[in-house]
Every structure is written in structure tokens, then in C-alpha cells.
């Protein structure tokens, strides 16, 4: 097992969920898989944070959901990005880039 797994801060988890859901309707299991795959196993999302986050985002109106069949024919809850969610994602992404830029700037110049 790789030792360098990072847990996510809550604020960032919301942004990642929005980003993944933006790719197309997806269920919770799918989201956890995608995050792990895309981050090359570096980031691991605890289910304990994932589901409350999904429901919170849905309640805020950033996600919408309906029930559908999964690839293997099971009933699953699929999440979609709402228009509001798309705007929010844009905001969070640019925020993140600003912050990350500033941090890496410091890391580079201060070393």
C-alpha cells in the first residue's frame, strides 16, 4: 500500500465531487472510484464523508438526483450537476487555482 495517501479537507471534497459529477450523471460509488482513479490512488475518499457531502450539495441545489439502473442492472441513485452547481464549480475552481498558485509561488521563491 502506498503510504502517501492524503485525506481531503472538506472544502476541497465538495469541489472534487462537483467536478466529477460535471462529467456526467454518476452514482456515489462511481464518484469514489473516479476520485481514486484520477488521482492515481493518491486521494482516498472516506464513504463517511462522501455521502453527507453528496446530500449537502444536493440540498444546496448544486446537485440534482434521480434513480436509474447501473451498468450491471441495479437500482442506483445518479447525481447530476445543476446550473447553480456549475456556477459554483467555476467559482471554486478559480479560487483553488488562485490559492494553489499563491502557495506554490511561496514554496518556490522561499526555498
Amino acid at each position: 500500500m502506498p503510504t502517501e495517501k492524503s485525506d481531503l479537507l472538506q472544502g476541497t471534497l465538495d469541489m472534487l465531487i462537483l467536478k466529477i459529477v460535471a462529467l456526467g450523471p454518476v452514482h456515489g460509488y462511481g464518484i469514489s472510484l473516479r476520485i481514486r482513479q484520477i488521482s492515481k490512488e493518491m486521494l482516498r475518499v472516506q464513504q463517511g464523508s462522501l455521502y453527507p457531502a453528496l446530500h449537502r450539495l444536493e440540498k444546496r441545489g448544486w446537485l440534482e438526483s434521480d434513480w436509474g439502473e447501473s451498468d450491471n442492472g441495479r437500482q442506483a441513485k445518479f447525481y447530476r450537476l445543476s446550473a447553480k452547481g456549475r456556477r459554483q464549480l467555476g467559482k471554486e475552481e478559480s479560487n483553488w487555482h488562485r490559492l494553489a498558485g499563491a502557495v506554490s509561488q511561496i514554496l518556490e521563491t522561499a526555498s
Binding site: L9, Q10, G11, D14, H27, G28, Y29, S32, Q46, Q47, G48, Y51, P52, H55, R56, K59, S70, N72, R74, Q75, A76, K77, L99
Partner: protein
Amino acid sequence: MGWRKGLFRKRPLDQQLDSELRFHIDELTEANIALGFSPEEARRRAVLEFGGQQQIREEVQDVYRLPLVESALANLKSALRFMRKSPAFSITVVATLALGIGANSAVFSALDAVILRPLPFPDADQLVRLDQINPKVRSPETQVAPVRLEDWNRMNSTFQAIAGYYTQDESETSGTFPEKVTMAAVTPRFLQVWGVAPALGRGFNPDEERFGGPDAVIISDRYWRGHFGANPDALGKKLHMGGYSYTIVGIMPASFLFPERDVDAWSAVPMNAPYAQSRDSAWFITVGRLKPCVTVQQAQANLTTVQAQLGEQYPKTDGELAVYVQPLKDTIVGDVRGSLWFLFGSVSLLLVIGCTNVAALLLARATQRQHEIAIRFSLGASRTAVVIQLLAEAFVLALTGAAFGLAVAGGASRAFRALAGNLPRIEEIRLDWRIVLYSLVCTVVVTLLCGLLPALRATRRNLSGSMAQANRTQVSTRSRLQWLLVGVQVSLAVALLAGAGLLLRSFQALGKVSPGFEAGHILTLHISGGWGETADMRALAQRIDRTLDALGTVPGVEATATSANPPGVPAEYETEHTFIEGQTEPGRKVHVESRFVSASYFFTMQIPLLAGELCREPTPPSDPKGGGWGSLNVMVNRSFANTYLPGATPIGYHVQLPGGNFIPPPGEIRGVVGDAREQGLNHAPVPTVYWCVNDPDPDPYYLIRTQAEPMTMAQTLRRKIHEIEPARSVFDIMPLDERLGEAFVDTRLRTVLLSFFAVTAVSLACLGLYGTLSYFVNVRRREVGLRLALGAARGQVLRQFLLEGLGVAVLGCVCGLALAVAFTRVLAGMLSGVSPSDATTLVGVVLLILTVAAGASLLPAARAARVDPMQVLREE
């Protein structure tokens, strides 16, 4: 709609969530099977990997739970934890608020009972007081003649009923000793006006209200309990008074205390009695009940019209009379209104000081919690949520404070009643749900006042800012705000203290003032007498003379006198007199205070005779209606002589009291006496005419000068009176000193309470100063340590912190003085013998505040100077 959706989707939510989670586990199991695990093992691993389902379920449910309730509970919990974690801080805040809210609630309970609440009668806002006045003569006689009262009842269109009453002290002679009974003689419709029925028995029937009908009486609840042990058998029993026996027909409820709180009984006045037919008699204090939806103005207009009609019909007696209608509550509450609002304002200032103090504490506290708040932000809490949490903490503190405050208010309320003595409606003060509600409102206001600013401040820095901040280095903006709060406290305290100082000085001045008479060693008392006795004025005068003579023979008694009003107690009996002979300044109105005293009054009260001789009491004619009074003797005081007859010898002039139709006999000035503060110690003497009659009414004040302490003579005198007047009761025995004190109960109440508020305010302000300076000393320990290590003198450090504290105190004093000017302007009417801008008081207040502030600053400053540099540097 959001909350309804939240409520209604609750049940399907559980099921949906279950299927959602089950799906996840199924997929995980499938993935594990694909990895080659057996189905059981795959499932076990999936469940393990997935983690605590119950916890997830709860957290997801939390998302949908009604946010208000959910977050309120969480905030409450965290607030309680917060209180437990810092007991010293919490106790300080709770104690401050308990005092602030408690004192405020106590004063509010008085304000509520006396001013805000309607009088304790059904639809009390319909009750009005009616006065008949003759605008031309400025006579204080506003009572209404029985016939006129009946005319008003018949002719008006705005009243449900109008009734009148007068009170007199009767002697009830069923027992061994005659006992005083305070009797209100009332007209028909009396109970209808009040809208109150007897709790037991009935009201008067028409027979009992007729002249010559049976004598009936309704007794008060208090009398019933005191004399009949609350036994319903009292109905039908008899009371014996003034040679008549009255059958008890009713018992009023305990809440009915009108016209005075110690009224014992009500009897009916026959309106058709032959002696009640004169339009000149002025008997009744008159009260009316308006018809629903009729305003006082409409009633006033209506009765004015009615009285104008009567004026045409009876030009001689009614032509010049006017009617004055005012809400009954105004006449009962009267002057206390100003006092109570003033106290309420002061105690609210105290609460503001308390809030400011708590706000400063919370602000300091919030700085220490910067780290905690930063973590909450980084965990994704919104600013609103953090602000609400901080406010919740303030609210829990305020609520605890309010709970203790109610206990404080209970005690304070009792103290208030004790201090308030005989102020109107004081017996109605109690702590009930209105006061609890008020305290709750206070709590919310206090929370917002104390909590909002620190909460907004504490959450203002954004995430990156607070992460980067080393909290020791950034105190400048916050320190300004905290010092501002301390300054506010100091200036409010200065204002309150200035007010208290002025009241105290005024009270002190009152004690030093020379009243112009000798109040010590005077016993005052009443001997019951009924108005019926005025039918034979000669007998009445002889009876009173006889009593005075008999009392004068008792060993230890130096002098005896009667007076309509006790000296030095405000009576407000100013009337316009006229001179019969030529006045030195014709056309000038002569406004003088009239007092009715026996000839022995001046000797008894030791008011010096300045010119002329002492007056003599006239022998009244046996039938007062028949005339034959001749002239009365009067004495005037020095002010009168100087004001109205300067340069002349007043002896021999005649003055005339105003009168309606019945012209009272003129008075011949026999002598001039020294000025005395007859209207009250806080009133400078005014021009006064003393009418020398020993029987201004059947029950005057008896003034007895004794050699020993007056009260030690009380029993001897009582026995002596019983010897000569076995059928009369003696009551209201009290040294004159005490009566003088009672007249200032309002002033005393204000002075004592405001002094208490001021002392509390100063203590709080000092506590604030001390707390804030201590906090900054703590925050700057490192800086101080470094400076000391670099060779700064300890004295320098001490001076620096001391001056920082004192500087704020000085600024507070300056602002406080400006506030005090506004505050004491309100006070101006309540002061005597001291000006509202009295320099001594103001300078004293500032010096006191600065001294205390220096003390409060010295401790933290000294602590700063004692900082051990080595230790501080080691701590780094």
C-alpha cells in the same frame, strides 16, 4: 416551503439512503469478487471498507434535519461546554448580567405595576376623575355637590355612570375600645362605576340609598379577615359608629382597594337628604366610567356642554363652574411617573454598562479563541454559522444571567417596596410572567449588544489571514475597540455618579435646611370625627378645645395645637386671596398658601412672632349657615408682609378667601410670624396666611409638644383621650419627624436607588478597566519581557501601563461630564438647594472615578512591571 419538504421527505429519505448505501456495498462486493474473493469474504471486506453505516446515516440525516432546531441544540451544547471550560470568565459574566438584568427587571416590575398596567379594575381605561373648578378663583376645592353630580348623571351622554365619595375616619364602638374605621361614604352607582361586585353579599339597595332608609355598610376584605376571621357569617352583623348601627350587607374582594389601600368600609350617602340639596356644598371626589369607545376629550366636551346648560339654569351657583375630566390613573399615579421613568432610565444605563463590560470580556476571549475559530473555518463552517455559535454562547451566558437576575429582581423588588413606602400602587408590584418575559427580552437584547460585536470581530479575518497570524503581534485594532468599550463604561458611570452625587447633596441640603419651625419632640395623631359634626360648628370647636386642654394637662406635654395639615408636609393649598382694604399695588393678584391652625400652633411649633399679637380663635355661630361669624383672625408670615404689603404695617388689614356663593368671613391680620417651610422642606417659604380656627375639619392633626421622646408619651396620651372621649378612636400616631421623612419617600427612593446604581456602575467600569488592562498586560508579556531584558526600567513599564489605563479613564470622564450635563438636566426638577451643574459634585465625581481607575490600573501595571524576562524568554 423548504422546511415542509424537509419534514415530508423524511420517511422515504431513510429508505432511499438505505438503497443508496446498499448499492455502494453491493458494487464493492462485486469488485472484490472480481478480485477473486469468495462471495462471503468479498462482502465482509466491502462492509469493512465502507465503514460505519449508522454514522453515515446519521450524518446524512443531519443534513436534512430542520436546521434551526438542529443547530440550536448543537450550539447550546457547545455553549455549555464553553461555560464549563472557563468558569472564572463565566461567573464574572453571569454575575455582571444577573446584576444588570435583575436590577432592570426589578425597576421594570415597579414601572409596570405603577404606570404601564391599567388600574386593577375591569376596563380601567374607562375610569376618569371629574373635578368641578371655578377658573376665576383658583380654589383648590374641586369636589362636586351632590345635586350637581346627579344632574351630570342625568344629562350626560358619554358616561355609563358617575359616582362620588368622601372618606372619614369613624370610631367603631362594638369592642372595649373604640376602633378607627376608615369609611368611604359613596353615592349610588359607586359599584357600577368600578365594575366590581361584592365577593360576598350584595351592593346597596335603593332603600339603603334613600334618606331615612336602613343604614348599611359594605366591608373590605381586609376588615373582614381582621375582625370576622373571614367568616361568611359576618353578613348581617352590625357595626356601631357615631351613634348609628350599620348592617353589613356585602364584602368586597381583596383586590378592591379604593379610595385608599387601608379603607375598611363603604356606606351609602342618601342623595335625597335635605342637607344634600345645596348647590354650594362641595362634597364628593367624583369618578366616572366612560361609555365604551368614548375618549376623555369627548367626555370633556360633553360635560362642558352639560355644565354650560346648568350654568344657564342656575347662573348664581353654576355660572362660573367648569368641569375637568382626566384619566383616573393620571390622578392616582401623579408625580411618581417621572421618578419611575427616571429610575428606569438609570437602571438601563447600568445594564448598558454591564453589556459593554461583557462585550469587552467576550472580545478578549474571542482573541484567545482565534485558533479554534480558524479551525472551524478551515473545516468549511460558514461565517454565519460561527457567528451564530458565538452568539449562542453569549445567549446562554445571558440566559443564565437572567435566571439569576430574576432571583436578584425578587429581592430587589422587596427592597423597592420597603423603600417606596406609601407611593401609589406599590402593593401591586409583583414578579409575574410579564416580568419573566421582560427579562427574556432583556436577555435577547443583551445577547445582541454584548455578543454581536465580538462575534463579528472574531470572524472577520479570512482563513488565510488567521492561519498566518501570530496572535501576539496583532492587537492594535482590537485594542482600540476594547479601550473604546472601557471608555464608554467610564463615561456612563460618571454620568450616573454625577446624578447620584447631586441627589445625595440635595438630600443632605434638605437635612440641613432650617424649616422655620421646631419639628423635634412633636407627636402627631388623629382623633376620629365625622363630617356630620360640622352641622354644629360651635360644638365641634368646643369639643376640640376640650381635647386640646385635656392633653395640655398631661405631665410631660408642653403645648398642644391642631392644624389641617402637618407642618412641613407638602399640601399644595395655594389660593388667591383678595384684600378688602386698598392694596399697595392694586391689580396684583394675591396668591398665598392658606393654612388652618389653632391659635396655639405658633407656640407649639415655635414659629416666632415678629410683629403684632397672636391671633384668637373666634367662637363659631352654632348654625354656620346663619352667618354671624363676624371676622376671623389671621396671622401672616414675613414673606406675605414683604411681598404684598411692603413698607406698611400689615396689622389690621383684612383678607378674604375666595368662595363660590358662600362668602367666607374675612380675616383680620393680627400679627406677623416668621417664615416657615410649611409646604415641605424642599420648598422655600411662600407668602402664607394662617387662619386661626381649631376645627378646619372634624379630624385635624393634633400636634403635641412633649418633653421626652414623643412616642414614649403615646400610650399616656391615648388613655387621656379615651378618658374624655370614650367613643372616639385615636389613630395614626407618629412623630412629626417621621411624617416629614415620609413626605420625601419619593426623593429618598430616587436617591438610594440611584446611589446604588452609581456605585454598581463605577464598580463595573473599574472591573472593565482592570480586566482589559490585565488582558493587554498578558498579551504583551513577551514585549515587556524583551524590553526589560534590554534594560528598560521597571518603573517605566509600570508608568506606561498605568497611564494607558488612566488615559482612557480621563477621556471617559470628559465624555462622561458631557453626558452628565444632559443627565442632570433631567434631574433638575428633583433637586433642591443644589444646582444641576454643581461644581463641587462634578469635580468630586471626576476625582473619585480617577482615583478608583488609578487603583484598578495599578494592579495590572504592577504585574507588568514584575514580569521576569528570563521566564518569558524561556516560554518562547
